[in-house]
């Protein structure tokens, strides 16, 4: 049952990703991207990370995609796309296949030995995913969290500076 769900979602995700790269129209690409995001959210749920799934939907599908689509519209690239495909297609294909092979090999022959952490599904059951996240975030990764805030600030300032029409 779960397996079927997994494979179906995986299929959708892959197809979506594929169309992101191959749609003529950026808008379609964007929609495919959203699809892909949603599939990932599904996976997150299956991986017992519901909070991440939520974030995924909100941040990505919600924020980032809106931004992207907004820009597409702003630059009204809706339909008019100049030369769509590149001569580099072959190279790109070959390279990504190679990449895949390499990845495949080291995923097969490597093994994730770092098991034995204290977070089991039982723990998640008892505490709840969100609290665990929160604990980790604010106990172990407080500093990165702060840095992230600075990062966002920088991004905002930068965006403002760059898109202001005149000084």
């Amino acid at each position: 049952m779960e397996a079927i769900l997994f494979y179906l979602t995986a299929l959708v995700a892959v197809l979506a990703a594929f169309f992101v790269t191959n749609c003529r129209n950026p808008v379609n690409s964007a929609l495919c991207l959203v699809t892909n995001f949603i599939c990932l959210a599904v996976f997150y749920v299956m991986l017992e990370a519901p909070f991440m799934a939520a974030i995924q939907i909100m941040v990505y599908a919600g924020a980032i995609m809106v931004l992207i689509v907004f820009v597409i519209m702003l630059l009204n690239l809706g339909t008019a796309v100049k030369s769509r495909y590149t001569h580099g297609m072959v190279a790109g294909g070959v390279l990504s296949v190679l990449l895949l092979i390499v990845a495949n090999v080291f995923l097969r022959n490597g093994n994730a030995t770092g098991t034995g952490g204290d977070i089991t599904s039982a723990v998640i059951e008892s505490y709840g995913h969100t609290e665990l996240i929160g604990r980790a975030m604010f106990v172990d990764f407080l500093l990165p969290f702060e840095i992230a805030s600075i990062l966002l600030l920088v991004a905002i300032v930068g965006a403002v500076v760059l898109s202001k029409r005149k000084v």
Binding site: T86, G88, A91, G92, L95, S96, L98, L99, V102, V105, F106, N109
Partner: protein
Amino acid sequence: MQGYSYLWLIPFFPLVGSIINGLFGKKIKNEAVIGGIGTLAIFSSFVVSCSYLIKLLGDDVKVHQQVVASWMSVGDLQVDWGFLLDPLSALMIMVVTGVGSLIHLYSIGYMHGEVGFYRFFSYLNLFCFSMLMLVLGNNALVMFIGWEGVGLCSYLLIGYYFEKKSAGDAAKKAFVVNRIGDFGFLCGLLTLFWALGSKGVWTLNFVEISENAHLLQSGGLLVTVVTLCFFLGATGKSAQIPLYTWLPDAMEGPTPVSALIHAATMVTAGVYMIGRMNILFAMSPTTMMVVAFVGAATAIFAASIGFAQNDIKRVLAYSTVSQLGFMFMAMGVGAFTAGIFHLMTHAFFKACLFLGSGSVIHGMHHAYHHAHLHDDPQDMRNMGGLRKFMPVTHATFGISCLAIAGIPFFSGFFSKDEILWWTFASTRGSMIVWIVGAIAACMTAFYMFRCLYMTFYGEQKTHPKAKNHIPESPWVITLPLVVLAGLATVGGLIGIPHAIDVMHVGNKLNDFLAPVFSQAQQLHQIEAHGSASLEIALMVLSVLIAVVGIGSATVMYLKKPELPGKFTAAFSGLHKAVFNKWYIDELYDFLFVNPCKKLGIFLWRGFDVKVVDGIVNGCAWVVKGIGAGLRYSQSGYLHNYAVAMVVGVVVIVGYYVLG
């Protein structure tokens, strides 16, 4: 002056004279003063030399050294500024200073009115200095200083009229050819030093060399090589085959120079050097033979060229070469004394001849100048019948001709005759050398008298306008002529051969030089053995030869002046060859000079610029080219950059994962 501690004065005076004239001559201007200084300088060393000669005659120790200072002291190599006085050098300094003084005196008159008067005297003194160093040096290096110094001076003096291209060329040629000889000298020096050194005696001192010569294997390869090297040096300095070509050209210099340097002194340095090293030479029969044959060859070869020259000085030049050949013949057959003897007599009569020719040229030049003509004052074809204009010159010239031709009881007779006798009778002698020598003697007589007749006898061929303005030279010129003629006449008497020594005066020269040569001669059984009668017979024969030479000359150039024309017509090819000195210069140009130049050009333009530098620039060019190529990898397209990155990742990770 007690002891021999003032030897250094002898070269010192001319040096001072040279420096004074060189630095201040320009200010002094007054020719009398300049000439006076120059002459005085060399004359005072003549005086000193005389005093030393007398002292030496009276002294029973015959070899004296004086070390002034150390020159180089580097480990085994200890070279001093040292002088050596022994009979040989005593004799030489007498010749140098004596003839030198006369020629200085002569020059005052001859060079009168020249722009570079002071320059000339400065050079002349400098030459005397170098020559005296050469003669007096007690070790090979000091000798080498003189050796190259005289080369330098001859360069300067030949190039005296430097605005004449021919003069410049001649000067350069002289020095370079001499350098080739010096190359031999240096090699000899190095080899000798090393050869003796390897036997434990590190020295270049002549006395020590002759004391330790026995360490070297007599007749061995080493000593042969050494002596051959030195002989090469000698051929350069003394204008022997194959290096004689510079001497005739050297006649570009003023005549006194030709007289002093290219007749009396410098060119005899080679002979002196062999005499100085007689021990070594005696040890190597091979070398001796080579020396003898080269000498003989030169003697006859040069004489042959002397036949067809019309320039009075060139005739004399070739005769000098040929006379030097005689000296080397003598040295080669072990007749060291005879060689030196001939050196001395030759100095007298040849100097006299040159000065005489100089006087003639002076006169002709004066006449032409007076007539505003520009004919060549040295060309004998424009002379003839001069005897009535310049009697003194004529007389002295004639005497010297007799001397050089070997007419009995003139100095040349004794020396040349002894040489021929030795070539015939010496243990190191050989028939061939004797025959060649005899023929050469005959030819000498012939062309010398040809020269005499063409100049002083027959009808005058001078340009009519100049005809009657040919003056006799002033006393400063004639006086040396007379003195030298006198010497040329009686000079031979110090070496009367035993065979005809009727008054039993003995062979003074032999006894005097014995300390230098006898050792080697005894050691290697070099002697002339033969009965007195045979000697006398030969003497007569050679006299006849001389007479024949003179006679034929008389016939051709006095009695039947049309004959020479016929001859040249008959043997035009031969005459042409002889007239052009057998094309030897051209041959040398073809063999050495031009190839060298071509090689130089090739090495520079072809090899250095194209290949060597080409490689250097090539490297730079390649690097830059590669850069220019790589540059286009930076296409500016985002995709290419991304591709590069992915390739990088795939390769790096893939290498570790798959490899």
